[in-house]
C-alpha cells in the first residue's frame, strides 16, 4: 500500500482527487480493456494461440508494428527539426505553419488516406515521377509508412515544442562563454533537455500509428502477407462474424502496444534520472 504513502503536501484533498482520478481511469480506460480480455476467455487457449499465430496474422502484426516504428523514428527526427524552426526563428507565415501541424489531428483519417493515395498513385502528382524510377509508394508497404508519418507527426512536434520554448538562453550563453561551438551546444545542452519529450512524443506517435486504419486502408493495397495491416485483419474477421478471432488479434495488439509503451516509459524514466531533469 505504498500508493498512499503520501508526502506531506501543503495542498489538501489528495485522497479525494486521487480517488476520483482512479475511478475515472477505470471507467474510461480499464473497463473496455477488461471486457475485451474477458471476451477472449470464451475461446479456448489453443484456439487463441492458433488464431494469433496464423501466418497472415503474424505478417500483419509485423507490418503494423514495423511500419509504426519506422514512422515514429522518422517523425522524431523531422518533428524535432520542425519544432526547432517554429520555436527559434521568426519568419512570415509562422502562425500558419504552426496551425498546419495540428491538421492531421483534425482531419478524418479516411480523407488523409484518399489524399495521399491521389498524390502517390502511379498516375498521381508525385507517383508519376516515382513510378519510372521503380519506386512504388501507393499500394505497397512504403505507402503505409507514408500514411503513418502523416497522421502521427503532430505528437512529436507538440511534445517537443514547449520544452524548446522553456530552454533558457542563459544556458547557451554560458556554454558559449565556456568556449563551446554551436554543435557542442546542441549536443550537450539542447538535445539532452529535449530527449525525454522526444521519447514521449515518439512513443505517442508510435502508439497512435499501430491502431491506425482509416488512412492506411486506401494506400496499402491490402495484399495478404505483403501489405495487410493488423486492424484490417480484425475488420475482415468481423466481416465473417468471427468476433472471437477479431478479439484475439485485438488483445495481442493491445498486449504488444502495452509492453512497448511500458518499455519506452521505463527508458524515459531512466533517461530523465540520468540527465537530472526534474520530474
Amino acid at each position: 500500500m505504498n500508493l498512499l504513502n503520501r508526502q506531506h503536501s501543503v495542498l489538501p484533498g489528495f485522497g479525494l482527487s486521487f480517488g476520483v482520478t482512479l475511478f475515472w481511469l477505470t471507467l474510461i480506460v480499464l473497463l473496455p480493456f477488461a471486457a475485451l480480455l474477458f471476451k477472449t476467455t470464451d475461446m479456448g487457449w489453443t484456439a487463441f494461440v492458433e488464431t494469433v499465430t496464423a501466418e497472415r496474422v503474424v505478417a500483419s502484426l509485423k507490418l503494423s508494428f514495423g511500419a509504426s516504428a519506422i514512422a515514429a523514428l522518422i517523425n522524431i527526427v523531422m518533428g524535432f527539426l520542425l519544432a526547432w524552426v517554429l520555436v527559434r526563428y521568426p519568419f512570415p507565415g509562422k502562425k500558419l505553419i504552426d496551425a498546419l501541424v495540428d491538421l492531421p489531428f483534425a482531419l478524418p483519417t479516411a480523407v488523409a488516406g484518399i489524399a495521399l493515395t491521389t498524390l502517390y498513385a502511379p498516375n498521381g502528382w508525385f507517383g508519376q515521377y516515382l513510378a519510372p524510377l521503380g519506386i512504388k509508394v501507393a499500394f505497397a508497404p512504403l505507402g503505409i509508412v507514408v500514411a503513418l508519418i502523416f497522421i502521427s507527426l503532430p505528437f512529436v512536434v507538440r511534445t517537443v515544442q514547449p520544452v524548446l520554448e522553456d530552454l533558457e538562453k542563459e544556458l547557451e550563453e554560458a556554454a558559449t562563454c565556456l568556449g563551446a561551438n554551436r554543435w557542442q551546444i546542441f549536443r550537450r545542452v539542447i538535445f539532452p533537455a529535449a530527449v525525454p519529450a522526444l521519447i514521449t512524443g515518439g512513443a505517442m506517435a508510435f502508439a497512435r500509428a499501430t491502431g491506425e486504419f482509416g488512412s492506411v486502408i486506401f494506400i496499402a493495397g491490402n495484399i495478404p502477407l505483403v501489405s495487410e495491416i493488423a486492424p484490417l485483419i480484425i475488420i475482415s474477421k468481423l466481416d465473417q462474424y468471427d468476433y472471437l478471432g477479431a478479439t484475439a488479434v485485438a488483445v495481442v495488439m493491445l498486449g504488444l502496444s502495452f509492453v512497448i509503451l511500458f518499455a519506452i516509459n521505463a527508458i524515459q524514466w531512466w533517461a530523465s534520472r540520468r540527465h537530472g531533469a526534474k520530474r
Partner: protein, 331 residues
C-alpha cells in the same frame, strides 16, 4: 456513426409519432443500394398513400453489408433489411430475429432483382480481354475487391470458380488453379466495391475491373463512357439481393403491415421498373422485355447451384485458412 444518427433520428421520430399518425420504416441496406432506394422510396410512398391513405416515411441506413447486419443484431431497429448476400440475413435468423425459413416468404427466394458480374476494361480494350481466361494471362492486372471484406469480391471469386468448373473438362483442381492465377494478377485488394472502382477509374491502376453490372452503369453515369468499355463474359454469376422483414422489430413497433407492403411492392411493375432504371436485372418478364436492350443475355448460374449454399461457400472458400487464404499462404 451513421447508425447512431439514424437511431437518434428514429427515437426522436418515435417520440413524435403520437403527434403525426404516420408510420416510420427503417430500411437497413448495404452501401451501393443508396441510389436504388432513393428512387424507389417515393414511388412506394405515393402508391401506398393512394391505396390506403396512410403516409409512410422511410429512413435509410447504408454501410458495409456485414457491418449493417451486425448493427441490426446489436439492436438497430430495422423494419426491413436489404442485403446482397443471403448469409448477411441468415445471421439475423441465427440470432432469432427472423425465422430460419425467411427466404421462402417472398417470391424467388426473397430476391426481387439481381445483377451479374461483368468486366470493365480501358477504352478500346488494349489487352483484348474477351472472357474469364484472359484475366489470368500474364501481364494483365485485375482489380477486384477483397473477398474477405466485400460481397462484390466474393461474387467475383465465385463467378471465376464456377465458370471454370463449367468449362469442358472442368474440375475442382482446374477451378482452383484458375482462381489462383487470377488473384496473382490482382495488385490491390480494396475493402469494398466502391473503393475498387476508385482504384481503377481515378488511380488508373489495373487493366480490368471486375464488378457488378449495375455498378458499371453507375460508373458510366458518374465518369462518362469515354474511359472504359464493358465486356460481358460468356458465363457469369447471378448476384442476388435478398430482402426480409425483421419480425422481432416490426412486432415490437407494430409496423408489420407497412413493412410487408414495402417489400412486396418491389415485385410490382413500378418497383421492377425502378430496378431496371438502376440497371438491376428485373424478375418481372414484362419489365425485363421492355428493358431487354440494356441487359445483354449472359449464361448465368446461382451461387447455390454450384456451391450448395452460401454458408458452405463461405466456410470452404472465405473462412480464415480457407481456399482463398491459401492462394496467398501457399508459396
Amino acid at each position: 456513426m451513421k447508425p447512431r444518427l439514424t437511431l437518434t433520428a428514429l427515437l426522436l421520430s418515435l417520440a413524435s409519432t403520437s403527434v403525426f399518425a404516420d408510420t416510420q420504416l427503417l430500411n437497413v441496406s448495404y452501401d451501393v443500394m443508396r441510389d436504388f432506394y432513393k428512387d424507389y422510396n417515393p414511388v412506394f410512398q405515393k402508391a401506398y398513400k393512394a391505396k390506403t391513405g396512410e403516409t409512410v416515411t422511410l429512413q435509410q441506413s447504408h454501410g458495409g453489408s456485414s457491418k449493417q447486419a451486425l448493427s441490426v443484431v446489436n439492436g438497430l431497429p430495422a423494419d426491413v433489411i436489404t442485403m446482397n448476400q443471403a448469409t448477411d440475413i441468415d445471421l439475423l435468423a441465427d440470432k432469432g430475429l427472423i425465422p430460419a425459413a425467411w427466404a421462402k416468404r417472398l417470391p424467388n427466394d426473397s430476391v426481387p432483382f439481381n445483377s451479374i458480374t461483368v468486366f470493365l476494361v480501358r477504352k478500346g480494350n488494349p489487352k483484348a480481354v474477351r472472357d474469364w481466361n484472359d484475366l489470368a494471362k500474364p501481364g494483365v492486372q485485375v482489380i477486384v475487391p477483397n473477398p474477405k471484406t466485400s460481397g462484390n469480391g466474393r461474387y467475383t471469386y465465385l463467378a471465376a470458380w464456377g465458370q471454370a468448373l463449367k468449362q469442358p473438362g472442368g474440375s475442382e483442381a482446374k477451378a482452383r488453379d484458375f482462381v489462383n492465377r487470377l488473384f496473382k494478377n490482382v495488385p490491390v485488394l480494396d475493402t469494398g466495391g466502391r473503393a475498387a472502382t476508385t482504384t481503377f477509374i481515378q488511380r488508373q491502376t489495373g487493366d480490368v475491373l471486375v464488378t457488378f453490372e449495375n455498378e458499371a452503369e453507375m460508373i458510366a453515369r458518374e465518369f462518362g463512357r469515354g474511359g472504359f468499355d464493358i465486356v460481358y463474359p460468356k458465363v457469369s454469376v447471378l448476384a442476388e439481393n435478398p430482402v426480409a422483414v425483421v419480425d422481432k422489430v416490426v412486432d415490437k413497433k407494430g409496423t408489420r403491415k407497412e413493412a410487408d407492403a414495402y417489400l412486396n411492392y418491389l415485385w410490382s411493375v413500378e418497383g421492377q421498373t425502378v430496378a431496371a432504371q438502376n440497371y438491376l436485372r428485373p424478375q418481372n418478364a414484362q419489365v425485363a422485355a421492355k428493358y431487354a436492350a440494356q441487359f445483354p443475355p449472359v449464361k448465368t448460374f446461382r451461387v447455390t447451384q454450384v456451391f450448395g449454399s452460401w454458408r458452405a461457400a463461405m466456410k470452404t472458400h472465405f473462412a480464415d485458412g480457407g481456399v482463398f487464404d491459401q492462394i496467398y499462404t501457399k508459396k
